[in-house]
């Protein structure tokens, strides 16, 4: 551990000597050219990509960009799903001392326009026809955009537009340029400094338009040293024998760290999932040893297991049921022991392994996982405990774009459930006495927001402390527990401070609830907007022979409303009376990024939600029943008579 801290301080004391990601990859390619560093599934099989291939492509991209007139400090945008070309483009751009900007594949055209304009990107690397169409639609609004390079020619080949360029032609230009100027990258590498901005990562923008956080080469170097070599991300630290699956959006800092940085530093073999829909199947094929997921994915895995078990034969259900009880005991014991195995857990787990645990982990693709992480959003302890029970210990990690994901982590044997762990070694973390806000100070604190010095000043104070915007508290003096985002804290009319995300997360542990938004700022009591999970509720309805047509139809069924009501009541029992939800309304549609209700990372945009579904909120506080929903006594749906709940009064 002390060695890690030394490394960290070295990197911070000499930012000029920071090793960039390109130099790390070049080193791998020099030392170990024929080793496989990535695999991509194409034409039904996983195609090997060696370090030599990786570096060759990186240099071709860099030269290609140079041929297109990209200079140091220019911005290059990448709009693609995860695939090797994403990394070639990113690393190639940085090798040229230019700046990468990633877009989410789900970004709709207006957001694409905003991001391209705000960053002033000169070149856009777009994956396919879908992304090219978005770019062409808004191209007129982006004066800086000069070239659009497309990866997949299908459908785009026939387009006639002066800015379009195919990937193959782009690479050919790079090859030509490399023959002309073979020493370009060496020159750029020698000019490079730790202060060079390497990437702009746009924050998800739950409030206001996204802001581009600038991360420098030095920031990333410190983050890599801390997260990868120091075991901040995966512990024990990742090594060349590790296998990972890349499937979360690479433009997010967490996945960039989990894919590109871990690969460049530790030499793990990256496997690119075919798409977000095939993650489960790819997971089973790849059987990664390291697995990082956002809570939404963990919840989906958890719900998926239970749905599939419901459809299993009685014997299988009985065996599974028995071992799940044991798993619960294992989980409880592990939680009580801060993630350390005891004799009891080892014996129970050993007995259950041949019966259920081995097969179960194999089916979901977690059999070989030796270290798992969860981050980027709060996760419900119940979900964590379930995975603890089947032998997958998940370490909750906390960090944000603005500090390059370096803040706190739970470490093996020192896990406190419900906390985000202890500060990473070699960094400063404190909690503001007045506001309770978490502050961090270390060499990976970002440079600033792109073109927004006023916002930068709000985020980093004069002493160099980064204001995270999260309210936290110390647990036992070592671990940090996140209470909520400062902006989200609800102050009721009674003057009581309430953290909505805690209640929302507990609501979302129910497999039937996909979205939950607690409302009550300046109101006499709390209410909630709830969106159901179509898969599980649909399955539930089928089992009860409840016919339905659409999502909306299903969500308005009195039986479904009663189901939601029960979830609300169960949740209420775990909170104090003032924190109880009195009423709820059903969100009549599935929330979507394209419609502006969710951010690209599937976080709810509260402001736009209030705007769109304000009538539901008004309905609740006006004591009306015009929209489907209910309170703790009855549920109602328009057109149908109010249905009284079976039991229980005003809980």
């Amino acid at each position: 551990m002390s060695a890690t801290m030394e490394q960290g301080t070295q990197a911070s004391s000499a930012p000029g000597g920071a090793r960039s990601i390109p130099s790390r990859i070049r080193e791998h390619a020099r030392r170990d050219p024929q080793r496989v560093c990535m695999r991509e599934k194409r034409f039904g099989i996983w195609q090997d990509i060696t370090w030599a291939d990786y570096w060759d492509n990186v240099s071709l991209v860099a030269h290609g960009l140079a041929a297109l007139g990209v200079e140091a400090g220019d911005r290059v945008a990448i709009h693609s799903e995860n695939r090797p070309e994403w990394l070639y483009a990113d690393v190639g751009t940085v090798a040229l001392r230019a700046i990468t900007m990633g877009l989410y594949p789900t970004n709709p055209a207006p957001e694409v326009a905003y991001l391209l304009r705000d960053s002033g990107s000169k070149v856009l690397i777009a994956e396919d026809q879908e992304q090219v169409d978005k770019a062409l639609e808004v191209e007129a609004e982006c004066p800086d955009l000069q070239h659009i390079v497309y990866l997949d020619p299908r459908g785009v080949r026939e387009y006639e537009h002066s800015k379009l360029l195919s990937w193959d032609a782009f690479i050919a230009m790079g090859r030509e340029h490399r023959d002309r100027e073979p020493d370009l990258l060496d020159r750029r590498a020698s000019e490079a400094t730790g202060e060079d901005v390497a990437t702009l990562i746009y924050t998800s923008g739950t409030t206001g338009p996204p802001k581009g956080a600038m991360l420098s080469v030095g920031n990333i170097d410190f983050a890599v040293e801390t997260l990868v070599s120091g075991g901040g991300f995966y512990n024990p630290p990742a090594g060349p024998h590790d296998v990972i699956l890349s499937y979360l959006p690479l433009c997010h800092v967490a996945e960039r760290a989990a894919t590109e940085w871990v690969n460049a530093e530790a030499g793990v073999t990256v496997h690119f999932a075919e798409s977000i829909d095939t993650v489960q199947a790819n997971l089973k094929e790849v059987q990664p040893t390291l697995f990082f997921a956002v809570p939404r994915i963990w919840e989906k895995l958890h719900a998926g297991i239970h749905i599939k078990m419901n459809a299993a034969s009685p014997l299988k259900r009985a065996v599974f049921g028995f071992w799940m009880k044991m798993a619960e005991r294992i989980g409880d014991e592990l939680v009580a022991n801060e993630g350390r195995h005891t004799v009891k857990t080892r014996v129970l787990y050993g007995l259950g392994y041949p019966f259920v645990f081995r097969a179960l982990r194999d089916r979901v693709g977690l059999r070989k996982v030796r270290s798992a992480g969860s981050g980027a959003a709060p996760i419900a302890p119940e979900v964590l405990k379930f995975f603890f029970g089947i032998g997958v210990i998940i370490y909750e990690i906390y960090g944000m774009t603005e500090n390059a994901a370096v803040a706190t982590t739970n470490r093996p044997g020192r896990v406190k459930l419900g906390t985000v762990g202890e500060p990473q070694p070699g960094i400063e973390v404190r909690i503001d006495e007045q506001t309770g806000e978490i502050l961090t100070r270390h060499p990976a604190n970002f440079v600033g927001y792109w073109n927004k010095p006023d916002k930068t000043a709000e985020a980093i104070d004069a002493d160099g402390w980064l204001h995270t915007g999260d309210v936290g508290e110390w647990v036992d003096g070592t671990h940090i527990k996140i209470v909520d985002r400062i902006k989200d804290i609800i102050i009721t009319a009674g003057g009581k401070n309430i953290s909505p995300s805690e209640i929302e997360n507990l609501l979302k542990t129910s497999p039937y609830v996909k979205e939950a938004v607690v409302v009550g700022d300046g109101r006499p009591y709390l209410t909630a907007l709830i969106g159901i999970e179509l898969d599980t509720v649909g399955d539930w309805a089928q089992r009860r022979k409840l016919p339905y047509t659409t999502y909306r139809d299903l969500s308005e069924k009195p039986e479904v409303l009663q189901l939601v009501q029960k979830v609300v009541k169960d949740t209420n029992e775990k909170f104090a009376r003032v924190e109880n939800i009195r009423k709820f309304r059903i969100i009549p549609k599935e929330l979507d990024h394209e419609d502006g209700e969710l951010t690209a990372t599937q976080k709810v945009k509260r402001a736009s939600l209030y705007e769109m579904f304000g009538h539901l909120v008004d309905d609740m506080y006006a004591n009306d029943t015009r929209y489907p929903g209910g309170d703790l006594v009855e549920v109602h749906t328009p057109g149908a008579a109010p249905v009284a709940a079976g039991r229980g009064g005003d809980a």
Partner: protein, 387 residues
């Protein structure tokens, strides 16, 4: 943390693939016959058992196992044409007989009334297959014109035509009721059906012949399996599933059917020639309709359109009589001979069981024993889920 390279690139590459049977980096691995570690282990153990076991069994049981191997070859042949290509053939016995008598003609020295060429096994075995294949190829164009019930009748006719020919070509077959001696399996002056000393080790004739047949089964079985997953095999399946659709896709119907019949007949010829060695003396009556039905039962019980099913089915049909016989010691109402006051004779019980099994499989599990195995395997494959 990256550290210097201590392992060879090849080994490094293997590390990230080890224990990940579904992570295919080559089409070859994806299509491999033994594509999972479990299959590889099972195949190795089975092979080891099969190599060791003849040294511990008595002659009688060795003979039974050898017969399983030989009939498996014939069953695989029938499965190629009936299971894979979907062309019902009741004429399999005819091709078996053709192989057996060709071998006898080629392998025996001429005697007074019988012709013979006195060739060794390396000549008569492939030739008996080829002659059967040639006749198959000649009959196939006729068979390719009809399908379903008509094809069954046509191939049924083949058995009767064959029966007639075998009975009348007395200089080749010895005639009805008399027959002739089967060809001896002599290779390089070494009779593989008699005790021999090879490399200083004395090996019994039945063990030698056992190994010969095992090797032939392995070679022909793998060949059939490869055929089934090749372009030819896929065209077989296309013709089976819907001949019109297959033709629309560009699969030549007549040629595919001819190929199927020809290859199937080759397997039958080899099977007949090897089986004849075990019979010792062969008569035309050996190759009647009942033998065809036996083979159809093998593939139905074992599993249509599977190679391993053919082998299991052959084993089942060959071993069942022995099993029933040993039942007579346990069950008092079965007698060894006819009559004798018991309720059933062995033969009757065999007949009943045989019939009941065929009906049972057709109704309950059309994919045969292999289908049962699939069910068991899938049950555990999805554990603890059901799908």
């Amino acid at each position: 943390m990256t550290g210097p390279n201590t392992l060879l690139p090849g080994r490094r590459r293997a590390v990230t693939l080890r224990g990940r049977p579904e992570l295919y980096t080559e089409y070859g691995a994806d299509q491999a016959l033994l594509n999972t570690p479990a299959k590889r282990r099972f195949a190795a153990v089975l092979l080891l058992v099969l190599v060791v076991v003849p040294f511990f069994l008595d002659r009688d049981l060795n003979g039974l196992l050898t017969r399983v191997f030989i009939t498996s070859i014939g069953a695989i042949g029938l499965n190629l044409v009936t299971g894979y290509a979907g062309q019902v053939s009741l004429g399999h016995a005819f091709f078996l007989g053709l192989g057996a008598f060709t071998a006898a003609f080629l392998g025996n020295e001429p005697t007074g009334s019988l012709r013979g060429l006195g060739l060794e096994m390396w000549a008569w075995l492939p030739l008996s297959g080829l002659v059967a294949a040639a006749v198959g190829a000649m009959v196939a164009p006729l068979a390719a014109r009809v399908r379903g019930l008509y094809l069954a009748i046509l191939t049924l006719g083949l058995v009767f035509v064959g029966d007639h020919i075998f009975k009348e070509m007395r200089t080749f077959t010895g005639g009805p009721g008399i027959g002739r001696r089967a060809a001896a399996p002599i290779v390089g002056g070494l009779d593989l059906y008699r005790r021999q000393t090879i490399l200083g080790v004395e090996i019994a004739g039945d063990v030698l012949y056992y190994f010969l047949c095992l090797i032939l089964l392995l070679v022909l079985g793998v060949a059939a399996r490869n055929l089934a997953r090749s372009k030819t095999g896929r065209s077989f399946a296309a013709v089976r599933d819907r001949d019109i659709a297959a033709e629309v896709m560009g699969v030549p119907l007549v040629r595919t059917k001819v190929v199927a019949f020809t290859i199937s007949s080759f397997y039958a010829g080899i099977c007949g020639a090897l089986l004849a060695v075990m019979y010792g003396t062969i008569v035309p009556e050996n190759f009647g309709l009942l033998l065809s039905v036996d083979f159809l039962a093998m593939i139905l019980i074992g599993g249509v359109a599977t190679i391993s099913g053919s082998i299991v089915g052959a084993a089942f049909v060959v071993l069942m009589p022995r099993l029933v016989q040993s039942l007579t010691d346990v069950l008092p109402f079965i007698s060894r001979g006819g009559g004798g006051g018991a309720l059933l004779s062995v033969d009757q019980l065999q007949g009943i069981l045989f019939g009941a099994l065929i009906v049972g499989f057709l109704v309950l599990e059309p994919r045969g024993l292999y289908g049962l195995w699939l069910r068991v395997r899938n049950y555990w494959k999805a554990w603890p889920f059901s799908y």
